[in-house]
């Protein structure tokens, strides 16, 4: 069983001292899956593995505060989508690859509370973490599903005419509380002082107004251009249920069509905004 | 289309032509085609091309050139010589070739005299057509010209 292999691997890594901390999935009081940080070998029992392990634990590798506290080498349990975001972080030299041990676990798709497979897992095109990237692979190899990304919901929004589209989004912007959970859960939002918290100059209205919220989400989506790997965490944590994946995947679609680039595939390549081609499309330029 | 094997050695045909006065610059030709384009004969006779004749000389196809009837087409109007950027004197070269053809027995001397005859008659017909056209003053088509030529044997010189 996968969970047994995870526990033994974690135990060995901790005992032989090659890692000083293991980040994995555990259970909290009321029985929900929660991230768990194990330092001594016999706490390994706390680790669980089921189809509710939503979290993208890579987020903790790019959290400066967390790394300050645990500056030893870290073992981390990752799924396919998490691995993609780790590659993006490596391309932006935010994570020191030799200080982390990557434990790749094959995942057959996560389930939400009432038992159907998450939308992001339907669209997942990488099922097992690839061999030459992870240090340890747990679970049998599942062939990679070559699948054309389905952007029908994005096309549906695009096809709305302007006022409807505006109403569709303003409906959410009226309720957005600017709690920044979507920003803080994302592994790629690692700035020391986020644009939203800057006052000199003040880029975006900090308070929770419709205009301020709209601009916050535009800036967040813009800053994830060619970086977001659609791990779906932002949408999951949003208290008012804003369809954030519809925003990210719109940009993923534009980047695929116009710059022919997919994030999280190649550890060397950063966002396409740092490169150009002579014949980039300029149909919108007079 | 057949292939031509180039003769290996022996006195070059082009040097022979170049030795005659007027043929000196033949080797300067870089086949730009101005002569063919300015030649009134090639307008009428589509596969006559002064450029091709020069090219055959340079390639040394002596028999093919001297026995061909192309070297007799030239009306020596000298337009090609004026226009040639490399100063190749094509009409002079034709004179040289005609002389060589005569000397080396490709044609008989009566043939050369006859040439003068043809020259005279064509000029005469041309003058008649022009006179008729100038009298009438309105445009003249090829059909009218053919009709005049067919009547010409009736017109006294």
């Amino acid at each position: 069983m996968i969970i047994k292999k995870i526990k033994t691997t974690a135990k060995d890594l901790l005992t032989d001292g090659s890692v000083s901390l293991i980040i994995g999935y555990g259970i909290n009081g009321p029985g929900d899956v929660t991230p768990v940080f194990i330092k001594d070998p016999d706490d390994v029992e706390k680790l669980v593995w089921n189809d509710q392990c939503y979290y993208n634990l890579i987020r903790y590798l790019s959290d400066r505060d967390f790394i300050e506290q645990n500056n030893g080498s870290i073992g981390i349990i990752i799924k396919g989508c998490d691995q993609k975001s780790l590659k993006v972080l490596l391309s932006e030299s935010q994570v020191n690859r030799d200080k982390i041990k990557v434990i790749g676990v094959t995942c057959k798709g996560l389930m939400d509370s009432d038992g159907n497979v998450l939308a992001k897992c339907e669209a997942c095109d990488v099922v097992y973490p690839d061999k030459d990237f992870c240090d340890v692979i747990i679970g049998e190899e599942v062939k990679k599903k070559e699948k054309e990304k389905d952007f029908s919901d994005i096309d549906e929004i695009d096809s709305m005419d302007l006022p409807d589209r505006k109403k569709f989004w303003d409906n959410f912007f009226e309720r957005c509380l600017r709690c920044y959970a979507c920003r803080n859960i994302c592994p790629l939002c690692y700035c020391k002082e986020c644009i939203m918290d800057q006052h000199n100059p003040q880029w975006v209205l900090p308070s929770a107004s419709v205009v301020g919220n709209r601009l916050f989400h535009i800036v967040r989506a813009y800053h994830l251009t060619g970086r977001c790997v659609d791990c779906g965490e932002c949408e999951r944590v949003c208290p008012i249920g804003m369809p954030l994946r519809k925003i990210n995947r719109k940009i993923i679609k534009v980047v695929k069509e116009r710059f022919d680039f997919e994030s999280g595939k190649d550890q060397e390549q950063k966002s396409p905004l740092t490169r150009y081609r002579e014949n980039d499309s300029e149909d919108f330029i007079i | 289309m057949f292939t031509v094997i180039k003769p290996m050695r022996g006195p070059k045909f082009k040097n022979e032509v170049a030795r005659y006065p007027g043929g000196e610059n033949i080797k300067r030709c870089f086949a730009c085609g101005t002569c063919t384009l300015s030649c009134p004969v090639s307008e009428a006779e589509s596969n006559y091309s002064p450029r091709r004749v020069i090219h055959k000389i340079l390639l040394g196809l002596k028999d093919e050139v001297l026995s061909s009837d192309e070297i007799w087409y030239c009306m020596t109007c000298y337009r090609c010589q004026v226009r040639c950027p490399q100063d190749v004197k094509y009409p002079e070269i034709m004179r040289v070739l005609r002389q060589m053809a005569l000397e080396q027995g490709y044609v008989k001397s009566e043939f050369v005299d006859a040439m003068k005859e043809i020259e005279k008659v064509t000029q005469d017909i041309r003058r008649k057509i022009l006179k008729r056209f100038i009298e009438k003053r309105e445009s003249i088509t090829e059909k009218d010209i053919r009709e005049i030529i067919s009547l010409s044997d009736k017109i006294q010189p």
């Binding site: 006022p163 589209r165 534009v254 | -």
Partner: protein
């Protein structure tokens, strides 16, 4: 309660406020040439000089729209002419993403324009300004109609 008339149904003022960010080497020179050739164009545009169109961060455009500008124009050198080699290539990609995002969230795409104007295209600069002012005016009128 937001007071930029992005959302409020304020009547469209006769005088629009459009901000133009022009690159110093080509577009600003083109605008100067439109001046020396006395080409007339609407007065709704206010020009800010930037060293290169590559200096333009989409956040500046967003801040401009949020502060209450009716429209924003970013103009730079034709690709290949850039005094700093590659500035306009990068901004082209950035603004493509911004354009898509603005449209996606229901902001009229006629409020933000980009153009390439070289130092000798005074006439083209005048045409660009006319087109931008006309587009922004239509966008404002439509906005008032739907919001009203």
């Amino acid at each position: 309660m937001s007071r930029s008339h992005f959302d409020s149904g304020e009547k469209v003022k006769k005088k629009l406020k459009i901000i133009g960010f022009l690159c110093n080497w080509c577009s600003y020179a083109g605008a100067d040439l439109a001046g020396t050739s006395r080409l007339q164009y609407p007065a709704d545009i206010r020009i800010i000089r930037v060293p290169c169109s590559g200096r333009m961060n989409p956040l500046l455009v967003l801040k401009c729209l949020q502060e209450g500008a009716d429209g924003v124009l970013v103009s730079g050198c034709h690709p290949g002419d850039c005094h700093y080699q590659e500035g306009n290539y990068y901004v082209r990609r950035r603004m493509l993403i911004l354009k898509n995002l603005l449209e996606y969230f229901g902001i009229d795409k006629r409020r933000f324009h980009m153009s390439w104007v070289s130092a000798s295209e005074g006439a083209k600069w005048a045409d660009v300004v006319k087109k931008v002012v006309e587009d922004v005016r239509d966008a404002c009128e439509e906005e008032v109609k739907t919001a009203g």
